[in-house]
Symmetry: D2
């Protein structure tokens, strides 16, 4: 996989244990296995919301990067939390909605181990070179 | 500090090393010291964007929690990235803009060690009991 | 059509000439024919961006209203503009993504007369009674 | 006032009756007097939410335009509705938060005739030439 699509060159992404499933032509899938360190509060089996928003930002970035050939700075990020994300593998499915000369927009769904959508995100990235 | 305003009861918040500076009456300040594990990419001294969005969500939550007396579920989160957040202590300054019967809204600024605003966020939380 | 799904009881919606195509079970379609009064600037054949954001808010509201049986207050609104919306019939297609006890979320697409998506929106509404 | 800061060259802005109060160096104030045609629903004295979001988008645009010297395309728009906007003059106060080479960000407050903040908005604009 080319450099701009590798997830393991980022210290933070290694810290949370992020894995790339696929990234091609504007479509990306990432996987985040449960770890106790990612929990919301002691004794809970919910992922912390900050993990979910990070995952959305990252997945959208790779979706645009897979089209423009390099990592892109995030302009802004919006996340809607739909239901708790319980322990188990999280999957982030992102797709490029627009890849313009100055701005790219990506839509992201987060699904829990049962396939339920736990959060949705939409992000704008700068594609100006 | 009462339970709903403690930051060290969350595994993820301990993982990133989050510290509470103050939280009272709708105004919150958090501090996040630099750690190499929070970096964007190997060899960079920028915080990962996912750390910034997490910090914004958390700070806004405590701002509303400090008014309603309990942690509140995030409805949605919006983050604008203004400039890179370089190594050094990050500070998140949040204030409650609205605390209604069903919805609370918080505004958050992230400042780097030089005081420059690196990102701004606005979040909606459910205050319905 | 029941009262909460009528578009012609609103002075502003009559002012811009909004028409309901259908609204049932969380899915809504609205139509807005071109009028010179809705233009962005004199001599342009683009809709004003303010018309597009209004249309997105309205369509999302009816999508949630069609499920809860009454008009719902908007909590917040987010619009991404993808390309200019040229003269011709605009269509807003909205669907309820979540209808919870306190919050509903709707996704909206705006399409121009050629079927191209010119803007996308996501809105949160208060469903608490 | 230079062309890119005039509000009366737009058919839609004339339709709703928008007035410029001031626009200089990233700070803008607009006024929108009440008209029955801007009402939410027959018999109500609340402005339609679509009027508020339009006003926020427009005010933010002029704030950035006052710094870059031309109208700028909106990338995205976010509006939080805080309370009903009752009849009377509405004022939109916008300020440029960032004016970068490719992106500008503006914050906007809408105040009713009593000075109460009824809605807040944050918008990103393309400043790439």
């Amino acid at each position: 996989m080319t450099a701009h699509l590798r997830v393991d060159t980022s210290p933070f992404q290694r810290l949370i244990g992020l894995e790339m499933v696929k990234a091609e032509d504007g479509a990306v899938e990432l996987r985040l296995p449960w770890r106790d360190e990612l929990g919301r509060v002691d004794g809970s089996d919910w992922f912390h919301g900050g993990v979910l928003s990070a995952l959305i930002d990252i997945a959208g970035d790779y979706a645009i990067a897979s089209r423009v050939g390099r990592a892109v700075p995030t302009i802004d990020l919006r996340v809607d939390y739909l239901r708790p994300a319980r322990r188990g593998d999280l999957r982030a499915i992102a797709r490029a909605v627009k890849v313009g000369k100055t701005v790219g927009v990506a839509d992201v769904e987060l699904r829990d181990a049962n396939g339920a959508v736990v959060a949705i995100g939409r992000c704008a990235y700068s594609t100006a070179s």
